[in-house]
Structure formats: C-alpha cells, structure tokens
Symmetry: C2
Subunit: 435 residues, 2 copies
C-alpha cells in the first residue's frame, strides 16, 4: 500500500455520496484512495463543508474518462443515464461500484458481461441491504457452498410498519404515518409497501446466490397493504410474527403436471409470511434488515444490519472500493459471477401452509359449507377459530401443507359462497428453519 | 479458472477434515482444487469411503514439502506440531488455512508475520465461529470502518446451557448434563464452561477487529459455573437474557487514575452478561453463535450461524481455500493485517451497570446496613427486590453505572458484613445496543 493513491470518480453526491466523501477523508484511507472528481446535477447547490467544491463537475462523461480515475462510483440511481455511464466506464477499463438496485435488478446481466469482458470489477454491495455485506458473503465465503434457500427482510420501511403493528396493535395506516413522520417511508410509499423495492433486491440476491439471470419482472410480488390488525394478532397468538420476506429457493415442479414433471425450478418471490416467533428472522425489529441463508454444509447463517441510510450505505460502498483498489494493485479482478438462464417456478407450484381469514354471516351450518370448499380443493385444515365480530363472525384457518394453486382455487370458491361476506388475508407460513 | 487445479495438502482428517474432503469432491470445486496428500496420525484407522486411502501419509513434513501442494490446510489443533508445520509451510511459500484457535490465540502475530514476509495467505475463518464468515467481514467489508465494539456469543456449549436454563428453568448441572448427552459439551467441559474457548476466540477477534496483538492471557475471563437458576429468572423478570459474551471495546481510562489518565485502552473480556431481551443477541438460542459489531459508519451488524460441527467448519475452510486459490491464480495475496501492540484496560477500569444477588439473614435493619456499603463504595442502587427464601432472605440489586473497581470493593465489604450469609452472582449488564 506504499503506492500512489487509487483515483476515484464519483457520480452523484447526495445522501450516500457525501457520507462517502466524509469516510474517504480519513487518515489511512486517504493515503490509499483519492477522489479526483465528482459529477453532480446542480453545481450551485449547497454542499457539506467536507465536499471540496473544486472537485465538482456537471459533466459525468468527463469524470469517467479522466486518466487518473481508476474506479467509478455510481450513486445516481435510476436506469438512465446511470446505465450508459457505467457501461462506458467498464468498457474504458475502469472498475465500477454501484448501489443502484433498480438498474442491477433490470440489467444486471448486461453489466456483469461488460465487466467480465473488460476484466474489471463490478461491485454492488450497497444495492441489496445497505451495510450488510451479503454480496461478498455469497460470492466469496460461500463460493463453494450449495445454497438451499435465501430468506430476506430487505425493506426497512415495511419491517418498521409491521413491527409497530405487532408491538402496539395499531393498524397499517397509522403505522405507515409513523414511518413517514420518522423518514423511514417516502411520501409516496408505493415502492416499499407494495413490495417493489424488495422485489428488486430479491432479483439481485437470486442472481448472486443461485447464479441465475433474474430480473425484476421474474419476481412474484405481494405487498403488505391488505394486512389487518387482527391478522397480526392472530399470528402472535399462534406463535408467529408477520414479516415481508424475499424468498429464493429451488422447488420441485409438481409431479402431476406433465409440462414441468418434477424438474427443479427457481422460485423468487416477495410476500408477507408468518415466521415462527423463535426463528432468528422474527427478532429483526424496526427498520433493520436481515438475510437468512440456508446452506448445505454451512447450515443456517443470518446477517443483520442497517439496510439504508447515508453512512451505512457509504460504508458498504467503501468496502467495495477497497476491494477494487486491492485488485487493481495486484492486477487481479474479483471472481466473476456466472449467470445462467433458469426456469422459474410459477407461484402456483409452491407448497406451504397457509393462514386464511374469512368474514361470514353468523348462522348454523356455515362452517360445514366453508369446510366443504377446502376439502373439494384438497386443502386440509390444521386448526380453525371462530370469533364474533360486530357484523357477524370471523373464521381464522391454519391449513396443512397445500399447493398454492389449490389454495387459490379455495379462495375463489369461498368468495362465491353466499355465506361468505369477505375473504380476508391469505398469508403463507414459513416452514423449516433452524430446528 | 481454466487452469490446472490448485494442489491441497491436508494435515489431519478427523471430523472437519473428512467433511472437507467430501466438499472438495464435488463437480465445479473438483476442477479447481485437488487434494494431493493427507497427513494422519494413524494409517490403519477406518475412514469414510470418500477419503481415498492412497492419499494418506503419516509424515506431515512430506505433505508440506510436496511441489504440487500450494495450499496447506492445518486441522490438527493444539500448539505443536501444528505451529512448526505451519511456519515451515509459510516459509516454503505455501498459503496456509487453519482453524486452530488455540494456536492463533497464542502465536497469531508470529504466524501473521511469517505469512506477510513470505507474501502468502494465512487464513483462519474457521477458528472463531465455525461457518460464520466474520473474519472476511472484518478484514474486507469493514476494512475502512472504525469499529466501536464487538460482542460475541462464540461458544455454543455455554449458549445451549444458558438457553436451557432460561427456557426450562433447570439448573446449571442439569443443563450441562443435557449438553453432554447431546454431544454439545465434552465429558470434561472445563474449556467451555470456564470461558477458555471463548477467550481464545475473543483474542483472535480482537486482533482482527482492532489490529491489535492480543493473546489468550490478555483476556479477562469469567465462566458460567456460578450462575444460579434464580439469577436467570430475575434477569428474565427484568427484561434481560443471560449470555456468555466476548466483549472487545476501546475504553477510556478513569480520569482520576494518574497512571492511565484518560487514555484509550483496549478491553478484551469474556463473562456472563445481562442482555436486553430485545437486543438481537438475546434471540441467539441453543448452540448457535453470533457476532454483533458496532461500527462508526456501518452501524450495528450481526452475523449468526453454526459455531461448530464438521460440515459448517469445513464450509468455512473451503471459503478460505477458494480465496487463497484465487489469489494464487492472480499472484495476489490477501490484505495483510497490521497487528500493533496496544495497552489493555484492566477490568477494574470498566464502567457498567450490575446485577448483584445477596443472601442475608431476615432481620430489620439489614437493608440499611447493606445499602450503606454500596454508598460508601460509590455504587448507586437503581432497584432492589427482597425475596423470602427457605433459610432467610435474598436481596437482588440492579445498580446504576459504576466502576468495576468500586463494585469489587462493594463485594468485598458486603462479604465482611455479619448479616450477609452469601454474596451470590455479580453479573455485568450490557449497555447500549441498537436503540
């Protein structure tokens, strides 16, 4: 490390960018890394003191093409111009660090191919779960490991909302309002609460953990907007916590289906799930994130930490920069990730246990009618509880393991019963885990 | 990766070694890595099928010196002959992977210096917490991070015992018996229950996280043998869980001490601690391990996983082997760790809150006498509860933040009171955390 500092070109200087500038301004790091230029949209905007104004430029192309820039850090976000700028940097032989989940979730393979071709690094630790070093874990520590399943709490906003609903019994709307007041949720919260942010991260996780080419549109997605306070409290009563999970696993196609007869396919999905209260993921509270990895030899591993915020994200970016700088000084590059095309398991093919809530009219014989629908659709009931409500009765079911397709048919048929006033939440139950 | 496989020489083929042989026998890995020879003590011992007998040798020197061995994996354990063999391998320019905590905790600096001098890798992910990739995390992902504190549950045996005591209200002896029956504890459990295993791991963790030269003897250590069932249940009642923690942090020397006036020193210690029930470490149950890292920019991070067992440990060793092989193919080496001599904070200098249990005779005026001793020693009481026992009364105190030295003086003076029948457990309370 007695060499010249490695030159950094920064694209974007917002929350994460300025936190990074601050981290790079410290003793030991300063000797190894030096920011040569920073591309910003608005040269006149007020910046923190530690951002040297003479480094700023409103021409990102010039930042990339500087001879003294060896590592380009992209913190602009969005698809364009980020994508073109990154491709240009890679093609010019620069290593690239990005925290841009939207871009990586949609064009990750194209970018990875460009990096492989140029023999440089493309690192994106900050794109999935902020400060949590899971990309390096999956790429390096678990490089020889057969990954069985990856479960992630990868969206801090929804985890905060669900934690508040669970611990204080408040409803979704109030919990969302709190999250917005605390700055955990945007004024337009759709990307978080509808699971889109988590789905982007799930596609990146799937690419790394299973070496598969997975894009945003391959991810099955359900958000948390439909969850009622009573869903959460029944879950608690039965020893579960409701979490919005990203789930990535190889599943067997159903044997009865001729089209997919027993072959293994990748299931990548984001939806609320009931997690057993003694599962490590259940203890992940508030805006924190966690990734739970089930490996063939390593067993269960979990990484927990801050999924967002300027300093934590900048810390992840810095880890990547140091990695790229190390490789540059040795003329090496990080291990490339193969990305293969895979078959995806339709969500209808998964099998799991379910929670299902049903508002019905309060009359004798209703349960028999309802139970018949479950039976006809080959969904077996594990437990049932009936509760009086103001307007009638509510039936809460836990099923045995069933095929999603059959559960959806049950849902449809229940909705057609005249005694059923409303089919409420259907929540999948996470099986297995550490026991 | 189209090159010749990298040659591996294995020293030791027990539980972890044979699990490793199995992992190396798989498709993709097999093309990259090849075991050339395995040194064992007993050539006649029965081995699993997948261990090829023609690879076995009872001469470890010959395994190390083979020209076709580029990476030596040491899984013998103990100080000698492991140390001499590793030094010989490093000096011969071979990369070395070791999971030998005893050796690394006592001679880590000498080995690291030899590796640095030879420009090869010395990797030991498996030495601290089995499958949990914390060494790589600290060395690479957090290379630019200022670490504030590291907390570890690094001994599965004691964590299993404490979990059983907490969840089933059984006493230490019974919980230990269960752990022995399940194979979590040795027949001679001293190294685990007296905290020696955890202290070895704490010294390695401290070396990595703080770049300090820390050996086993620098670690302050208390085991869990003195904990009573009632300690655990009071803790539960007050919202805490008892964990055996490795704690590594920079602390300020007390200002009043002329000798160490306000300078920062490293505190490395292993002792039971009361952990708030909503702290992520509290949810680490049974034989699992976890490392909780508080970073300046990254915030709180936790890694959770299996701390022992053949397959998980072999998985960590395999991660290291792939790392070393990657570096060999590029002529690079892992980032070396500087290890500097540091001043250690005597345990008497730490400040924390305490739990303290006291058996006293059941008479008026006893509490006043006891409280006076606390006051004289500048230890302020936060809460007190008196419980009738069969033989008298028990007083359970929670203190405000106090200096360890003052707490120890309190303990001594309480022991001299005629009304005190027994000074029971004194348990430090973990402060701070994620809130």
């Amino acid at each position: 490390m007695e060499k010249m500092p490695v030159g950094i070109g920064l694209l974007g200087c917002g929350n994460v960018g300025s936190a990074l500038v601050r981290l790079l301004d410290k003793g030991d790091i300063k000797k190894m890394l030096e920011i040569k230029a920073i591309a910003v949209n608005d040269l006149t905007k007020k910046r923190p003191d530690f951002v040297h104004l003479d480094l700023l430029s409103d021409d990102p192309q010039s930042v990339i093409t500087r001879d003294d820039v060896q590592i380009v850090v992209e913190l602009i976000g969005g698809i364009e111009p980020a994508k073109s700028l990154i491709l240009k940097a890679l093609n010019a032989g620069k290593s690239v660090i990005s925290g841009n989940k939207e871009l990586l979730a949609n064009h990750g393979m194209e970018l990875a191919n460009a990096a492989n071709k140029a023999g440089v690094d493309l690192l994106y630790e900050a794109s999935v779960a902020g400060a949590i070093p899971l990309v390096r874990l999956l790429r390096e520590s678990l490089a020889g490991e057969e990954i069985v399943r990856v479960l992630g709490i990868v969206n801090g906003t929804t985890n905060y909302i669900l934690t508040q609903m669970t611990e204080f019994g408040i409803d979704f709307k109030n919990a969302l309002g709190q999250a917005q007041n605390l700055g955990y949720a945007e004024r337009d919260p759709e990307a978080d609460i509808e699971g889109m942010d988590a789905a982007s991260k799930a596609s990146i996780l799937a690419s790394i953990a299973f070496g598969a080419d997975v894009v945003f549109d391959d991810v099955f997605r359900e958000g948390i907007t439909g969850l009622e306070t009573y869903d959460i409290s029944y879950a608690t009563k039965m020893g579960y916590v409701v979490k919005l999970l990203a789930i990535i696993e190889m599943v067997e196609g159903p044997r009865s289906s001729t089209e997919s007869g027993g072959t293994r396919k990748l299931s990548v999905r984001v939806h609320p799930a009931l997690v057993s209260a003694d599962h490590p993921l259940a203890s992940v509270r508030g805006p924190f994130n966690a990734i739970f990895i089930e490996g063939e030899a390593a067993g269960d591993l979990m990484l927990y930490g801050k999924g967002a915020g300027g300093a934590p994200t900048a810390s992840a970016v810095l880890g990547d920069i140091l990695d790229a700088a190390h490789n540059i000084s040795f003329g090496a590059s990080s291990r490339n990730l193969k990305r293969e095309t895979v078959d995806f398991a339709p969500v209808n093919d998964i099998t799991t246990r379910y929670y299902l809530a049903l508002d019905v009219i309060d009359e004798p014989g209703v349960l028999a009618e309802v139970a018949k629908v479950f039976g006809m659709n080959k969904v077996s009931i594990s437990s049932m509880e009936q509760v009086e409500t103001n307007e009638g009765a509510r039936l809460v079911f836990f099923t045995h393991v069933a095929l999603e397709k059959n559960l959806q048919a049950t849902k449809r048929d229940l909705g057609n019963l005249s005694v059923v006033k409303k089919v409420g939440s259907i929540i999948r139950i996470l099986d297995g885990g550490q026991e």
